[in-house]
Amino acid sequence: MSVPDLGRFSDPALLILTSLANGQKHGYHMMEDIEAISGIKLGPGTLYGALNRLEEHGFIEGVATEDRRKPYKLTALGLTTLESTLQKMQSFTQTGLQRLQGRA
């Protein structure tokens, strides 16, 4: 299973899932973390557009809290989906790098 086609939110979705891989985070924390790990600054609208779709698809869920800033965490489905997507990307990356080395 891989991250479904979420239109222009597909890439942000993968970034969000990866950000949540090491534990629950709220929106602002996610934006900071994503910028730190990928160098990509997600806009607030894009972030919440992707969060909305990921929640609809059952990949993430909100965590109950008193705080207005609601944290999100991966569901079991989100975890396996992320794992499978990253493994596919890893295999793709390795193939690409090997081909580049073959040219040298």
Partner: protein, 254 residues
């Protein structure tokens, strides 16, 4: 102030679900012009998708409602039509029209219970596929009549199981009024009884009048089926046409 304006662009249901936490996050952000643009595009996109999706679902629900009401009316008219072949046609076409309920109920129930709704829809689709297979095999004449009868009756019994399960699920999720759901469950049970008894008598060549209790049960089930079905089809159809079901689908965030 600009944030209030922006929030108004989002659909009501989205705001109910996300506005508070969204604002809480924005309070921490140092918003640039690019961020404002990003928020505006996202808000317009959410509004557009929400409206378009809702209108399409609403239209489908209303068309389903018309088909189901028509189904009940045809069944009822069949009793008053003197011409036997027309009455038989109405009796055959009536229930077929109500099959439009299978995807319609799936659209509604999957919002509340996705897994259960998937299983229930699979039951309904299986029965339709079996009916199509029976029809195709019958046309090709490659199977003996007994086998065809067995497949078609099985399809009918599965359809009864769908009626029971879909109405049960609709009651538990509050999708349709409990009374209407209970009538639907009763129709499903009556349908299963009628089909099972018919299959049994046909396969074993049994005369039903030799079993008075069974004959009474069969007669009562047929009466329940006819009366209950017309009531259920017309009432459920009106519920779909009125937009009542669509409004329940409108709030789909979170």
């Amino acid at each position: 102030m600009w944030l209030d304006v922006l929030m108004r662009v989002y659909p009501q249901a989205w705001r109910e679900r996300y506005e508070d936490e969204y604002r809480a996050m924005l309070e921490q952000c140092d918003l640039s012009l690019a961020d404002w643009l990003d928020m505006l595009v996202s808000a317009c996109e959410t509004r557009l998708l929400d409206t378009r999706g809702y209108l399409m679902r609403d239209l489908l629900n209303r068309v389903t409602g018309v088909l189901v009401v028509l189904s009940g009316v045809l069944m009822m008219s069949a009793f008053f039509i003197p011409d036997e072949s027309t009455a038989e046609f109405f009796f055959a076409v009536g229930p077929l029209l109500s099959l439009a309920m299978i995807p319609a109920m799936h659209r509604v129930l999957s919002i509340h219970r996705p897994q259960w709704s998937g299983a229930v829809t699979a039951i309904g689709v299986t029965s339709i596929l079996l009916l199509i297979v029976t029809f195709a095999l019958g046309a090709m004449a490659i199977l003996p009549d007994t086998s065809l009868m067995l497949i078609s009756f099985s399809a009918m019994v599965i359809l009864g199981v769908w009626l029971v399960s879909v109405n049960g699920l609709a009651i538990s999720t509050g999708t349709i009024p409990s009374v209407l759901g209970a009538i639907g469950v009763a129709i499903g049970v009556a349908w299963i009884i009628v089909m099972s008894v018919s299959l049994w008598t046909s396969l074993l060549d049994v005369q039903l009048y030799q079993y008075p209790a069974l004959m009474t049960l069969q007669s009562m089930s047929i009466l329940m089926l006819l009366g209950g079905y017309m009531l259920w089809a017309i009432s459920t159809g009106i519920l779909f046409i009125s937009g009542n079901v669509s409004r329940k689908l409108q709030v789909s965030y979170g």
